[in-house]
Amino acid sequence: MFKILIVEDDDALRETLEIGLRSNGFDVCQAATGTDAIPVFEKHKPDLVLLDLMLPGKNGIEICHELRQTSGVPIIMLTARTDDNDMIRGLEAGADDYVTKPYKIEVLVSRIKARLRPIKQVQHTIIKLGPIEIDTLSHEVLRNGKRVSLTPLEFKLLLTLASHPNEVFSREMLLEQVWEYTYKADTRLVNVHVQRLRSKIEEDQEDPKLVLTVRGWGYKAGPE
């Protein structure tokens, strides 16, 4: 049974979420303030974190940063503010996805499941992309022989692009294949995560050689 950490300061909403998630077969642990979030996370080791952005004590973006120091745990932001800046900052801080209030429990559950679903097993190969080596089985990524730490989502993004080098993926295609969205979603998710991925694997993030932008179309994995 997957365990989910709910970080949400509104008691009624937290409780309702718990009911909803439990009735969908998840185990739940909770934190009501920003300061509680990290200790609860360390104590319960949840499989996924639902994170409200507006929290007393420590805000969601800071928590995101701290979690990402040590863990690649999937993080889904719960935002009341559809304020773009907050949402983008959350994604930049390492959140994988976001859901805006008010949401349906089905939507939330499907987002959670998408993030918890293991990457489809493929034949064990080593994909090479410039100085990068991707082990499709161990999910290890080496850059010039040194290990690069990617979150599961970042790994999936890299794997999707690198499996078909020089093939252009539109942002929609990536949302569908990496995030498993079946409907139109915010393509900025892709932009932000491509940036995060680049910051980890590119030599110069400003002049990417591996994950290239195709203006007006999307992205592709660069030439060998």
Binding site: T16, L17, I19, T82, K101, E172, G216
Partner: protein
């Protein structure tokens, strides 16, 4: 064609420049005054010259008469030879006499023409046709001198001259007529010179007037031009601009009151802006604050809804109603938030190249069920190739969804036609229904917030009333246009035109904005 264009450009410049117009009028009016003055001067100078010459000519004619009398003084009428000699002497005598070098003389016998005794000598260049029978009759009728202006030709040039005639009797009572022609070549030359001088002087004066009036109008127009420039800046949003105030004349008063007006305008705009920002923030805050409790309520309602089979009938129905109304509330809040984001100019679109056919296709797919439930046939007419355009696909699909929902709702079961087309600069989708349509008053309000076409009609889809208001904002965000035409009971046609790329301007829409005709 080229001249026509220059003429048009000049006309445009003339209409647009106050200074040029003032200058033109000043020069035109001064020019007319100068022409009038020149005309009068030239006329009176000409007249003066003419009358002086005439007087002089008459005086000389008296002298000539005297000279002719002298020629005949020693001649008695009986000596025919002597008489003939004297007659022959008249012309050379008079030609050489007087100050004028250019006198022509004719001494004509008035008696019967065939007299051989009495010759009619004349200067060689004297043109006898100048003496009309009428003039001759006048000369014969009086003792005195008769004069008349005539035109003579000299060196191929026609110049004015004075013809003077007088009766004369040679001894033995033979009637003669003496004619003298004084040309006015010199006077003509003088008049020409005077006229040329007048024209030249006039032109120079006109140029000087033009130059000075240019200086004066520049000086007068500059503050007006400054004021126009500053008001343009203010109109463009630079509210801090003011006019410089110099001195205390009427221009300074204009500048002061202009600045005054700008001050109060600036204050009003500031206050309005503040109010508007506050209102927008309020709407946005309310929407945000409502979201957390709404989420809780919605989750609870969803949970209850999923459990509804366990309830008794009344509770079950209540849960269903709550559930559906919760969705409506949700949509309303989402739309309100979207509008408030547009109002706060906080919308950042995500442009990507898409096939409009594809977007239309997926919009149709999502609406198909609703269309089927209403028994409305969706007729699609799309080009075979890809219709590529750079758009924020979520927003475009939202617009299409709105248009399709509206069309199906108001089509009264008749088919709805969807068309897609493209040209060099633009792509377009039109959605045309043949339903209840709208009258002109309704048409004018179609894009207003919370406005519904017919309030008496039952709401079936529970739209928020913000759909078209958001759609038009979405279209404008893309530098596109969303237009509508409609007629009562004939239906409505909505047309969305978008630029192919965001750096391209729409030239015209590839689709017509027209209702379906019955044929």
């Amino acid at each position: 064609m080229f001249i026509g264009r220059i003429y048009k450009a000049a006309l445009g410049r003339f209409r647009s420049s106050l200074q040029l117009r003032a200058l033109a009028y000043t020069v035109a009016l001064s020019g007319s005054a100068l022409v009038l003055l020149g005309g009068v001067l030239s006329f009176s100078i000409g007249n003066g010259l003419f009358s002086t010459r005439t007087e002089q000519a008459e005086l000389e004619s008296h002298r000539a008469t005297f000279a002719v009398s002298r020629v005949f003084s020693g001649v008695t009428g009986t000596n025919q030879q002597q008489l003939s000699k004297a007659i022959a002497e008249v012309v050379p005598e008079l030609e050489s006499i007087g100050v004028s070098q250019t006198r022509q003389v004719a001494f004509l016998y008035s008696g019967s023409k065939n007299s051989k005794k009495y010759s009619s000598p004349k200067s060689t260049n004297f043109d006898l046709s100048l003496i009309t029978t009428e003039f001759r009759a006048r000369v014969l009728a009086t003792e005195d001198i008769e004069s008349q202006t005539v035109q003579i030709s000299r060196g191929g040039e026609s110049i004015p001259a004075i013809l003077i005639g007088q009766r004369f009797e040679v001894p033995k009572g033979h009637p003669y007529e003496l004619y003298l022609v004084y040309d006015m070549y010199n006077e003509q030359q003088t008049l020409g010179f005077v006229q040329r001088t007048l024209v030249l002087g006039g032109l120079v004066t006109l140029m000087i007037i033009g130059f000075f009036s240019f200086l004066v109008t520049s000086w007068l127009v500059r503050p007006v031009r400054d004021a126009a420039e500053v008001s343009e800046f203010i109109a463009a949003g630079d509210l801090d601009r003011r006019l410089p105030v110099r001195g205390s004349d009427v221009i300074a008063v204009l500048a002061t009151s202009f600045n005054h007006m700008a001050d109060s305008l600036q204050e009003k705009i500031k206050a309005m802006r503040q109010l508007s920002t506050m209102q927008q923030r309020f709407v946005s805050d309310v929407s945000h604050e409502l979201r957390t409790p709404l989420t809780t309520m919605k989750l609870t309602a969803d949970y209850l809804y999923s459990e509804k089979e366990n309830f008794d009938d009344l509770s079950k129905r209540s849960v269903e109603i709550m559930h559906s109304q919760m969705d409506r509330f949700d949509q309303l809040l989402a739309d309100l938030l979207e509008i408030s984001r547009y109002d706060a100019a906080g919308v950042k679109p995500q442009y990507e190249v898409h096939d409009l056919n594809g977007i239309v296709g997926s919009a149709l797919e999502s609406i198909q069920q609703f269309a089927d439930s209403k028994g409305v046939y969706l007729e699609v007419e799309i080009p075979s190739g890809a219709v590529q355009c750079e758009v924020d696909v979520v927003r475009i699909e939202r617009i299409l969804n709105n248009l399709l929902t509206n069309a199906i709702e108001h089509s009264e079961g008749k088919p709805v036609k969807i068309r897609v087309a493209q040209n060099e600069t633009a792509v377009a989708v039109s959605v045309t229904d043949q339903g209840i349509g709208m009258n002109d008053a309704e048409l004018a309000q179609a894009f207003n917030r919370f406005w519904r076409a017919d309030p008496s009609r039952k709401r079936t889809t529970g739209g928020t009333g913000l759909g078209l208001a958001i759609s038009i904002e979405d279209a404008q965000l893309h530098s596109g246009v969303l237009e509508v035409t409609a007629a009562p009971n004939l239906g409505a046609c909505f047309r969305l035109t978008l630029p192919k790329r965001q750096d391209v301007a729409i030239e015209d829409s590839p689709l017509k904005l027209a209702l379906e005709t019955e044929s």
